[in-house]
């Protein structure tokens, strides 16, 4: 056989000595076969567990888009790179190994079948590349170890306790050992070869070559024996790690890639509506089985990287929720339940009674604590930044639906909110007939009075009923009138958009709200809608189409930026002070509207715009989304206060917002921090209206409570 033969080390004969000095091919094949068998069995077993539970869901359509996601997020690691430090760390290991594995495979192939190009300068470059990427992996591993065991960032744990497992260490040490032994093997080989006449290309393998310099004094025979042992150790670890993949965190190589392929191709923040209330037996997710198989699979793709937790407003303010923990707890629960279910199914297939034992723990309430479940603001930070495309929010809402629709067991203050929405179509429970009162004196017509308009201005509950929100609605209506936009409102025919009901798990109420609005809107032949609340914006744009409401929907900041760009509104009054823009989650992360609000602000003469530490896609939620607006926040710090701190740190005197919920939250945050003398929260519409200089500045935020008290 070839590997025993003498080699001639001359130019033109450069080649990697894969099996040099290790002539035990049969044994090698046997071990490889065993490793692959363990790998295959592990994967098969896992496959069964993936399939054991959950409802069907198709994530195999639209191959093109899916391959694109796999290339972008898998191959090019785009989402992983969003966080530079761990991104680079992972890239070193990922790209390093990616290259090494292909290199090793090509190398082994060439050894057995002899690739014609595998010598000469090509080979030398190949050696160099392998060397560099080997070093990259090693560097990546060292950084990872440093990070995990010395630096210990909070995201690799939960509330200060690292969640390190033996598996993490095994994988890190294993990969590190493959590289180190690889270099040692190379050094030993070079140590021997280097003295053979004509051997001049050692420097192409610079790490091994450098290492070989330390081996002076080691006899060639010893070196050959050491080489043999090292080679086997190297090979065993490599094969061992292959066999270990399905049983360890290395499985994420497969599951994460699969998850990136099976990415949701629906609009961001999409929630599958409940289709048939009349005939369904249960609603929402009470058992693991109520998830779709893909939702369960998600949990097996989680790498515990903690990026989701790192920006979760609930976690960062001391609530029990961590999106990582939710996914990991579901995974643990699934790994307990799936084998039991699998065994029961197998028994059933063999003719026994198909009894699936009851779970020992309730999923909603025990595995996932209710405080966790209800702490989520639906801010979508977790989903936006999960490198492996895990979808947290639909799971959380599914479980909320179970608590609300099936058990009617949820916070009393939210029950009151829902009753208010049922009876008066707004969360405050203010008489529905008062919906149009804000517009008294602004001269806005309803569609009933004049339906020949371009836009429906859907005011929403805050703009209609909240004292602060009303001012925004007034400012916006004045701007639109001034700019000559033809628009109308629905007046008392308008209803709540239903977002809080949907995100709080009350899909039934939500659909009633949505259908009522759609009926009215379609009745007037509405085509285009302007909303001043990102929650209504998102609901009408993305969810109303399920129920026959197909509209072109614009958020007012889009319209404002556009009117300014077109010169339809002129900003002549300059402003003073430092402004910062707070991204509303439902504008930013949900709808990628980041620039329009900023452009509108920048157009104001003299406006100095600064960014808070968290901005754009990494923006920090105000705390009001996901029906949290209506619930007590009694655990940990208040989310809006923490956000206000960021504005204070940015030296902002005005927090500009594009969302009435954010407006309330930021104003409260400013007050809680005792900054109401020097800071205020304003909607962009108010800022623009002031800058138009057509009347005395609109009343600022602080006047609202005084007025309210006087009523």
């Amino acid at each position: 056989m070839a590997h025993g033969a003498q080699h001639v080390y001359t130019v033109g004969h450069e080649g990697r000595e894969v099996f040099w000095n290790a002539p035990y091919e049969l044994i090698l094949f046997a071990f490889t076969a065993v490793a692959l068998a363990i790998f295959a069995y592990g994967l098969f077993r896992r496959w069964q567990l993936w399939k054991a539970l959950g409802k069907p869901e198709d994530r195999m359509d639209n191959t093109g888009e899916r391959v694109k996601s796999l290339i972008v997020n898998g191959l090019f690691q785009v989402k992983t790179f969003r966080d530079v430090y761990p991104g680079v760390m992972h890239a070193l290991i990922f790209f390093g190994f990616f290259v090494l594995i292909w290199g090793a495979a090509i190398d082994a192939t060439q050894f057995h079948i002899g690739l014609p190009f595998f010598h000469g300068p090509f080979y030398l470059w190949f050696s160099l590349i392998m060397e560099i990427f080997g070093l990259a992996v090693l560097l990546g591993i060292v950084i990872a170890m440093y990070r995990r065991y010395i630096e210990k960032p909070d995201r690799l744990g939960y509330r200060g306790t690292p969640d390190n497992r033996a598996d993490d260490a095994i994988v890190l040490v294993g990969i590190g050992a493959i590289i180190v032994t690889g270099f040692i093997i190379e050094a030993l080989r070079l140590h021997v070869n280097v003295n053979v006449d004509g051997f001049t290309w050692g420097a192409w393998s610079f790490v091994g070559y450098g290492l070989s310099k330390t081996l002076t004094g080691v006899g060639y025979d010893t070196a050959r024996i050491l080489h043999k042992w090292m080679w086997w150790i190297h090979t065993f670890i490599a094969l061992g790690l292959i066999a270990y993949i399905p049983w360890s965190r290395l499985l994420h190589i497969i599951t994460s890639a699969a998850n990136q392929y099976m990415i949701s191709l629906k609009p961001k923040g999409y929630l599958e509506p409940i289709a048939d209330f009349e005939n369904a037996e249960s609603f929402g997710v009470g058992q693991l089985e109520d998830f779709t198989w893909k939702q369960i699979f998600d949990s097996d793709a989680c790498t515990r990287c903690g990026r989701c937790q790192d920006g979760c407003p609930a976690y960062l303010t001391g609530k029990p929720l961590s999106p990582k923990k939710v996914i990991q707890d579901l995974k643990t629960y699934w790994l307990e339940r799936a084998p039991v279910v699998l065994a029961a199914k197998k028994a059933a297939a063999e003719g026994e009674d198909p009894v699936i034992p009851e779970p020992e723990k309730m999923m909603v309430g025990e595995v996932i604590d209710l405080h966790e479940l209800w702490a989520c603001t639906n801010c979508m930070y977790c989903m936006e930044h999960c490198p492996v495309c895990i979808e947290h929010i639909p799971k959380i809402i599914g479980m909320r639906q179970y608590k609300v629709l099936m058990e009617a067991d949820f916070a009393p203050e939210l029950q009151l909110t829902y009753r208010n929405m049922e009876n008066n179509s707004n969360p405050w429970g203010i008489g529905a007939h008062l919906r149009q009162d804000w517009a008294a004196g602004v001269g806005v017509k309803t569609l009933a009075e004049d339906s020949d308009v371009e836009y429906l201005f859907y005011v929403g509950c805050s703009g209609s009923f909240d004292d602060r929100g009303k001012k925004v609605a007034i400012a916006l209506a004045k701007i639109l009138k001034e700019a000559g936009v033809r628009f109308g409102v629905l007046g008392a025919e308008e209803g709540c958009c239903g977002d809080s009901a949907m995100r709080g798990g009350n899909e039934y109420l939500y659909q009633i709200m949505a259908q009522t609005n759609i009926e009215v809107m379609n009745g007037y032949g509405v085509k285009k809608i302007i909303t001043m609340c990102p929650h209504g914006y998102n609901a009408i744009k993305k969810d109303y189409p399920h129920f026959g409401g197909n509209f072109e929907v614009y958020h007012h900041t889009e319209i404002l930026a556009d009117l300014i760009a077109q010169g339809k509104i002129r900003l002549k009054q300059s402003v003073q002070g430092t402004f910062t823009y707070h991204d509303s989650c439902f504008l930013g992360r949900y709808n990628d509207i980041y620039d329009q609000p900023r452009n509108a602000l920048k157009a104001v003469p003299g406006l100095n715009l600064v960014e808070m530490s968290s901005n754009h896609a990494k923006s920090f939620c105000c705390g009001a989304g996901g029906a949290r607006m209506w619930m007590e926040e009694d655990i940990g710090e208040r989310i809006n206060d923490v956000r206000a701190d960021q504005a204070i740190a940015a030296n902002a005197s005005t927090i500009a917002v594009g969302c009435p919920f954010c407006l309330t939250m930021m104003a409260d945050g400013i007050k809680d921090r005792g900054k109401e003398e020097t800071m205020e929260a304003l909607d962009i519409a108010e800022i623009i209206w002031d800058a138009m200089g057509l009347e005395e500045a609109t009343a600022s935020a602080e006047e609202a409570p005084k007025e309210a008290a006087a009523e």
Binding site: F277, F283, M406, A408, F410, P412, N423, N424, A432, Y508
Partner: protein, 256 residues
């Protein structure tokens, strides 16, 4: 245990109430109708009692067709069946006529305990529960915030100014519920769906062998007098402003 809860459909507390020009009642258009909040406490207590002792809860209500919705709401919360007395002679009837219709319906079914709200929030009469008890020949305990049933004894807590009374009575009896008795539940969705199929008997007064007799009538309904506008005292000197406030309170408002 056979439990009965009487409910009344009333305009939502936030609804815009307009008195008809002829003073015969209110304009009903555009009004959202709901279960009177005190009746909700009654229904909730009825359900809790059932959950503790077993049995059935029957809802009894009087009113036009729309009242069915309120009966269904109570069924969605968990009651088993309903009796809807729909007879124009009873729409807007006085407390006596209302109580006699309820009594006529309840006499025909087994009843160990009957719950009513302490009053309905529309006419605020607060008499129906007591008259009902009288007509059925049962004891009544009104305006209670806590109820314990042991065997055939009901122990109820009734708050009064500066104290609370523990009242004992024997079953069957009529209980009228005050705020604080419980937190009415939010109906579950399966509850709402099932409620659509639960049995509700619709009856006329005659079906109950009843001739409607009123002891009183509302002669005229008129809107409350408009609130006089508030006054803002102008001036720069706080002491003078304070003195002016005192003067006005004394001389104009005559409250001090």
């Amino acid at each position: 245990m056979n439990i009965v809860a009487c409910v009344k459909q009333v305009p939502d507390t936030e609804a815009l109430i307009k008195v008809k020009a002829d003073g015969s009642g209110i304009e009903e258009g555009g009004i959202k109708w709901v279960m009177s909040p005190y009746d909700e406490f009654g229904v909730e207590e009825a359900l809790k009692t059932k959950e503790k002792f077993g049995g059935e809860v029957t809802i009894v209500s009087i009113g036009p067709a729309r009242t069915m919705e309120t009966v269904r709401t109570a069924l969605a919360m968990g009651a088993e069946k309903g009796i809807h007395i729909d007879d124009p002679a009873l729409y807007n009837a006085d407390a006596y006529a209302t109580a006699s219709a309820l009594a006529a319906a309840i006499k025909g079914i087994p009843h160990d305990i009957i719950f009513c709200g302490m009053r309905a929030i529309d006419d605020d009469s607060g008499q129906v529960g007591s008259i009902l008890a009288e007509l059925l020949g049962l004891p009544s305990v009104t305006v209670i915030t806590k109820l314990d049933i042991e065997g055939s004894t009901a122990k109820a807590i009734k708050p009064i100014e500066g104290a609370q009374l523990l009242i004992e009575t024997s079953l069957p009896c009529v209980i009228t519920a005050q705020k604080g008795l419980n937190e009415p539940r939010y109906a579950s969705l399966p509850g709402i769906m099932k409620a659509k199929k639960k049995p509700v008997e619709v009856k006329k007064a005659a079906d109950l062998g009843l001739t409607v007799e009123q002891k009183s009538t509302v002669a005229k309904m008129s809107p409350p007098p408009a609130r006089p506008p508030g006054k803002i005292i102008q001036g720069d000197d706080p002491a003078a402003k304070a003195a002016e406030v005192i003067r006005l309170l004394r001389e104009e408002a005559k409250v001090i």
